[in-house]
Each structure stands twice: as structure tokens, then as C-alpha cells.
């Protein structure tokens, strides 16, 4: 049975479940294939790619995480910058960064090309970890410990911008991450630069 030519405002009479024209079928097939490509990229990147946001995810409490961060700071502290401890853990270590209104504690000093497990959690509100200028971003949620295996591939003086609204001082919340080139056998350890 034939369906009369009609617009979307008209009620179609009779059976409208009819085969589509070849052109329409072609586009549906192309779209379907493209959707499969879109989908396949994600498992593929898990397998072959170098950037995966899965991490190690655990529940914690603000109190427990604060305590763990303090222990971490005490263990590897190498100095201070404006009252904020600078912490230099050895490669492979678990690194703890605590977010609270409106600061990131502590300042991290890591080595280029070495893997660390970077733990992120909040002691109060939701915060946003945004590494500048690399532009990698993670949500930091109170009660959850997000442990990411991170290998810095560039050295320099980086910033951690909070990019989740956390209160009226949100825009002042900036932390610091220093990445040094890994020391070679001949290079002297850089001593107290002014």
C-alpha cells in the first residue's frame, strides 16, 4: 500500500512501516559504521594509548586523607615556599595532593620520565585539578581517593588551577608542581638557588 506524500504535521494513514530509499539506507549505514569507529577508539586507547583516566579508585574520609597527606609531607619534605611545604618523593612513590578551600597541599617536586601514583582527594568541597599548561583535568571529590599513575613527560614549573567552583575564593586556588629533569650520574644535585 502506498503512503501519501505528507509533512510531519499530518497523521500518516495506513501502514507507514515501509522500506527506505537506498540513499537513506546508505546514510544510516555510514552513520552506524562511524558510531562503531567512535566507540572502538576508547577500548583501543585503553590497550595502546598512553592516557587513561581510570586510576586506582578508593573510598576514604577527609580525616584519613588529611592524616595520610601529613605523613607524606613529613616523610619527603625538602623545603618551603611561602609557608607551603615542598615535597620531593622518590620515583615510584605514592604522592598525595590534598585539595581544600582554597589551596592545594603540598607543592610537589617530581622527576621527568619517572612514574608516580598521584593521589587526589578533597577535604571539603568538590574541586577541579587542572594542570597548567599541560591541560590535564580531573574531578576531585571529598570521600574518594583518585590514584593516577602519572609520568611527567616535560619539565618545568607547573600550576594546579582549581576548575570546579568551590566557593567564593575559588579563583585564588592555585597550587604548584615542579618537574625536574631526572639526575644523571655526572650532574651535581642543584643546591639552594636563591
Amino acid at each position: 500500500m502506498h503512503i501519501d506524500t505528507h509533512t510531519g504535521l499530518d497523521a500518516p494513514k495506513g501502514i507507514w512501516w515501509k522500506p527506505a530509499h537506498k540513499a537513506e539506507k546508505t546514510w544510516v549505514a555510514i552513520s552506524f559504521a562511524w558510531c562503531m569507529v567512535l566507540f572502538a577508539m576508547m577500548p583501543l586507547w585503553h590497550w595502546k594509548g598512553g592516557q587513561i583516566p581510570s586510576g586506582i579508585r578508593r573510598r576514604t574520609t577527609p580525616e584519613a586523607y588529611f592524616k595520610r597527606t601529613q605523613e607524606f609531607i613529613k616523610q619527603y619534605r625538602v623545603g618551603d615556599d611561602r609557608g607551603m611545604p615542598i615535597v620531593a618523593p622518590p620515583p615510584g612513590a605514592d604522592v598525595y595532593l590534598a585539595a581544600m578551600t582554597y589551596q592545594w597541599t603540598p607543592i610537589l617536586k617530581l622527576q621527568k620520565g619517572k612514574e608516580y601514583v598521584l593521589h587526589l582527594s578533597s577535604l571539603d568541597m568538590n574541586h577541579g585539578f587542572s594542570l597548567y599548561p599541560v591541560n590535564v583535568n580531573f574531578q576531585v571529590v571529598p570521600g574518594y581517593d583518585y590514584g593516577l599513575r602519572v609520568t611527567p613527560t616535560s619539565s618545568g614549573d607547573f600550576r594546579v588551577i582549581c576548575n570546579e567552583f568551590c566557593g567564593i575564593g575559588h579563583h585564588t586556588m592555585v597550587g604548584r608542581v615542579i618537574i625536574e629533569d631526572a639526575p644523571t650520574a655526572t650532574a651535581a644535585t642543584p643546591g639552594g638557588a636563591p
Binding site: 500518516p12 612514574e115 582549581c162 604548584r176
Partner: protein, 578 residues
């Protein structure tokens, strides 16, 4: 016994319009436009603050007004308009009455009270929690209660929508199946029910939490809140696509290519779209990779497939509609000879194009699990959703309003010359705005941020100097679009409250202040079946009877692939993370 329903017959569409349903359409539409005005004023204040050279508002007021902007636009403007759409499509398009006018007014009252309470809480600084109100940020209990009242009202209206359709079916006011436009609106209503139930599941506990009566986990909040927050955008998509089909029919006599394909695509929306909560949790510590991959892709991108299908069938229906009316030369005569000075038509085209090319492509790309790491909470995120919900949905709603004013309010469109250019101004502004935001976000510029010069931060942050220029473009685009919105509001207010009555329409005689689809309805000739058969018979190749559309969608696909793989390339250059 109640008085029988009073109908008038629409002189243009020939539909029966129930007076009580019509009044509900009017009042909901007017409330929507008032909300748009509030939201647009807030938009200007926000844009002038983020333009670092102007930096208008102090920090407290910036975050406050940003919250007002989100609520007024995304919730009140859009949803009040959708209520008007539900009242209209479930009555006028199937020739039936509104079956529960009193309950409809009660629902409207709940929504209005809810909206006023929410606005009052936000403006008075008792809800400085932004649009998303992420727990443990705490607002006054009245804020959550206002949202609950609003949502209950909206849920009642969706119930009335279904009831109207049941009455129409039972009383046989239409023959055959529901028109495609009503089918699409029904899709929106079904998704609305799912969405509003998620809303209840999160706002009721959060309301109790704000009273100190229970605990709410911050991650669970984000999960369920986004099942409301993102799914409600899918209501907007379904409503917008229905309006695309409606405007196509009204302006150029667009036909339905194949009911099976278009309706199946709507069903895909219902089946898969509520999984989109995951888009916001891709770099969260709450969920594992399997959940993220399955959900962010709407189970292998089946809802994206639906949008890509509509992205073909809508323009192809328009092309075929024009070809059936004799515009058959070459590949694009149908597009060149289209009524570009009809604001209903230009708004339709811009809505389809910007939604697809900017909103769709960026959305799928940034919603990819790993790519989201270089996007989350940067300006790329609002860059994306202003291209979908503003340039797409709001643009389509504005376009259809140019037809609602004469058809429902029976007034001429005021400031007609301005009305003709309004879609151009609004669309161009939004294109500049969304693309600049996307570029700024690529440099890591955060969203929802008062001061990216970081003047009060302990450590200095120096963005690329290009960022200042890009943010100036964000402001330029934003101000252009806001001007377009103000013009739209002015046109609506003048037409509806002080407008000239429509008067008698003579078919084929141009009328000032009336879109051409009304004085020159794009009816198809008597021999349309034969023409249709000829067009299909002639189109033996795979390009089909709408070859122009096939060219356009292939260009779209190429742009999509380019953007998608460029982002993977950028991602591969950042630190190693596993």
C-alpha cells in the same frame, strides 16, 4: 456537567484549536520569554566579567549571576517553552481539547511559584551554589524546595500531554498514526518523565540534607544529578528535532522521507539517552572504565546515530519538499531559492547547522572517555553546550515563535524588519561565542572562574597572550547573541501585548509582519504523488532524491572525523597517565 469545549478553526492550518488549550500555550510561552529576558541580562553581566579587560562584577556577584543565568535559561526559559509545546502539539495538531484545564493551571502555578522561589533565593545570596549545586555546597532549603515544586508541575503537564493523546485516540479526532511532530514531542515527554524521576531522586534527599535530616554522598549526587541534568538536555534535543520537522513543514512544505526511519531514530533517543550522566563523570573517581565507556557512548553511540539520522532526514525532507514544489535544478537550487528572509526558515537552518557542526561534533568528541581529560571543566565545555542548547534548541524555539505569534496569538510580528535579521544576528553571535570558548578552553582556561589573571592567587599563572584576544571574541560573540535575544524579547512583548491583529490573510499576497509560510502556505500540488514517484525514479543512484543533502552530510562527516582525530592527536602529546 461541564460546558462543552470551545474550538476555533485555524484559518492557515485548518486545525481545530481549543480556547482553553490556547490560553495555556500563550501563558507558558510568555513566562518562558520573561525568563529568557532575565537570563539574557545575566548573560551580559557574566560575559562582561569574563572579558578580563572589563571585569565588570565583583567575585560574589559574578558567581551569583552565573547561577541565575544557568537556572533562568536552561530551566525556566526552556522548560516553560516546552510546556507550551506540549500543550500545543497534544491538542491543536490532533484536533482535540485539553482534557484537564484546571489541573494544567495548577501545574503552571506550581512551576511559577517554584521558579520565583528559586530566583529569589539566588538573587538574595541564599543559594550561591551555581546551577549544579554540587553537594557539599549548601543552599537554603527553599532553593531545593522551589526546584521540586517546579519539577512536580512539569511532571503533571507531561501527564496531561499523554492524557490528551489518549482522549484524541479514543474520540478518533485524527485518522491513522500520530503526526511525526507529535510523535517527537511524545518522545520528549517520555524522556521528561525519566528525567524528572531522577530529579526527584536527587533533589528530595538534597532538600532533606539541607535541613540536616540525612547524608548525601558527593559522588552519588553528581551521578544522579547529571541523570537529571544531562537527560533534560535530551528532552531539549527531542523537542528541538520535532520543531525542525514542524518548521520545515510550515516554511517550505518539507515532507517526511520515511516514517519508519524518523520514528525509529526517536525511539533510539528514548532507549539510550538517559545514560549521558556519564559525560560529566569521565574524570571522576567514582566509576570504573567499563561503566564510563558503555555509558558515555550511549551504548555504542546509538543516540548519536539517532541524531545523525535526523541530521539527514530533516534537511532531506526540506530538499524533497522544495523539489516537489518545482525547485529541481542542480544540486542546490532548493536551498538558494528558499525563503531566507522568513525568520522561521533562517532560524531552522541555523539551528540544524550549528547544532550539528559545532554542538554535535564537539559534544561527541569531548564526551569520549580519554579525550575528556583535556576538556573537563575548561571553557570547551560551555563552548559545546551553548552550541547545542542555545544555538540549537533556543534558536529553534525562537524560529517557531515567529509562527506562534500569528497562528496562536493572532497578531502580526512586530518590528518585522528586525525580526528578519534576528536569527542571523543571534546565530552569528553564537558561532563566534562557542568557537572562541572552545579555543580558549584548549589553552586550559577554566569555566566558572572569576579571575584568570589570578591576581589574588599565591602563585602566578600566565596564560598564552592569545587568550586575552580570544576572550575578547567570546565577549563580542556573547554580546551579539544577547542583542539578538533582547530583540527577540522586544518583538514578542510588542507583538503579543501591543501588536496589530492579524486580520484577513489572502493567499499569495505578501503581508508585512507575517512570515511567508502563512500568507503563502507551501502546499503541494495535486499531482504531488506523481512528481514524488518521478523524483524517486530518476534518482537511481545512491545519492537518492535529495542529492544536495547527501553532499552536505558528507561534508559534515569529514569535519567530524577531522575534529575527532585531531583531539586524539592532542591527547597523545600530554603526560603519560594510566
Amino acid at each position: 456537567m461541564t460546558a462543552p469545549a470551545v474550538f476555533r478553526t485555524c484559518p492557515v492550518l485548518g486545525r481545530k484549536i481549543h480556547d482553553k488549550a490556547e490560553l495555556l500555550v500563550k501563558v507558558n510561552a510568555v513566562t518562558a520569554v520573561v525568563s529568557l529576558l532575565v537570563g539574557a541580562i545575566a548573560a551580559v553581566l557574566v560575559v562582561l566579567t569574563r572579558w578580563q579587560a572589563v571585569h565588570l562584577l565583583p567575585a560574589v556577584w559574578f558567581y551569583r549571576i552565573l547561577g541565575v543565568h544557568g537556572m533562568s535559561m536552561l530551566i525556566f526559559w526552556i522548560i516553560f517553552f516546552e510546556m507550551a509545546v506540549l500543550h500545543f502539539t497534544s491538542t491543536a495538531l490532533v484536533d482535540t481539547r485539553c482534557c484537564a484545564p484546571k489541573l494544567s493551571w495548577f501545574a503552571y502555578g506550581l512551576m511559577l511559584v517554584g521558579a520565583i522561589v528559586v530566583e529569589w533565593m539566588m538573587w538574595s545570596g541564599q543559594a550561591d551554589v551555581l546551577f549544579t549545586s554540587y553537594v557539599p555546597l549548601r543552599a537554603s532549603p527553599w532553593f531545593y524546595l522551589g526546584i521540586i515544586l517546579f519539577a512536580v508541575g512539569a511532571l503533571i503537564v507531561t501527564g496531561i500531554f499523554f492524557a490528551n493523546l489518549v482522549v484524541a485516540k479514543r474520540e478518533k479526532t485524527y485518522e491513522g498514526s500520530l503526526p511525526l511532530v507529535v510523535y517527537g514531542a511524545m518522545t520528549a515527554a517520555i524522556i521528561a518523565v525519566i528525567t524528572l524521576l531522577h530529579g526527584a531522586a536527587i533533589y528530595i534527599p538534597t532538600f532533606l540534607w539541607s535541613l540536616g535530616l540525612m547524608k548525601v554522598d558527593p559522588e552519588i549526587y553528581r551521578l544522579i544529578w547529571w541523570a537529571l541534568g544531562h537527560s533534560s538536555q535530551q528532552i531539549n534535543v527531542a523537542a528541538m528535532v520535532s520543531i525542525w520537522y514542524m518548521l520545515g513543514a510550515l516554511t517550505i512544505g518539507a515532507v517526511v522521507l520515511n516514517e519508519k526511519i524518523s520514528r525509529s531514530a526517536f525511539v533510539l533517543y528514548i532507549l539510550f539517552i538517559s545514560m549521558a550522566s556519564a559525560h560529566h563523570l569521565l574524570v571522576d573517581p567514582g566509576m570504573g572504565p567499563a561503566w564510563k565507556v558503555a555509558n558515555t557512548s550511549y551504548f555504542m553511540y546509538m543516540a548519536v546515530l539517532a541524531s545523525m539520522i535526523h541530521g539527514f532526514t530533516v534537511p532531506a525532507g526540506m530538499e524533497l519538499g522544495m523539489r516537489l514544489r518545482g525547485y529541481t535544478k542542480g544540486t542546490f537550487e532548493w536551498l538558494r531559492k528558499a525563503p531566507w528572509s522568513d525568520p522561521g526558515f533562517s532560524a531552522l537552518v541555523f539551528s540544524v547547522v550549528v547544532f550539528g557542526f559545532i554542538g554535535g561534533i564537539t559534544g561527541v568528541t569531548i564526551g569520549t572517555e580519554q579525550i575528556n581529560m583535556i576538556v573537563h571543566n575548561t571553557l570547551r565545555s560551555p563552548g559545546h553546550f551553548h552550541a547545542t542548547v542555545v544555538s540549537g534548541t533556543a534558536m529553534a524555539f525562537m524560529g517557531v515563535t515567529y509562527y506562534v505569534i500569528p497562528l496562536v496569538f493572532r497578531k502580526k510580528v512586530a518590528f518585522w524588519k528586525l525580526a528578519k535579521i534576528q536569527p542571523y544576528l543571534f546565530a552569528l553571535g553564537m558561532v563566534i561565542f562557542t568557537m572562541s570558548m572552545t579555543f580558549a578552553g584548549s589553552f586550559g582556561v577554566p569555566r566558572r572562574h572569576w579571575d584568570i589573571s589570578f591576581s589574588q592567587a599565591p602563585f602566578s599563572v600566565q596564560f598564552n597572550p592569545a587568550v586575552d584576544l580570544i576572550l575578547a571574541f567570546v565577549a563580542l560573540g556573547g554580546l551579539m547573541a544577547a542583542t539578538g535575544a533582547f530583540i527577540f524579547v522586544a518583538i514578542c512583548v510588542k507583538s503579543v501585548f501591543f501588536g496589530e491583529p492579524l486580520g484577513t490573510i489572502t493567499k499569495g499576497v505578501a503581508m508585512y509582519g507575517v512570515p511567508q509560510g502563512i500568507w503563502n502556505p507551501p502546499v503541494h500540488s495535486k499531482d504531488v504523488e506523481q512528481r514524488n514517484a518521478e523524483l524517486h525514479a530518476a534518482a537511481t543512484g545512491w545519492m537518492g532524491p535529495a542529492p544536495g543533502t547527501m553532499v552536505l552530510v558528507l561534508v559534515f562527516l569529514a569535519a567530524f572525523a577531522l575534529y575527532f582525530f585531531t583531539n586524539w592527536k592532542i591527547l597523545s602529546s600530554v603526560w603519560k597517565i594510566g
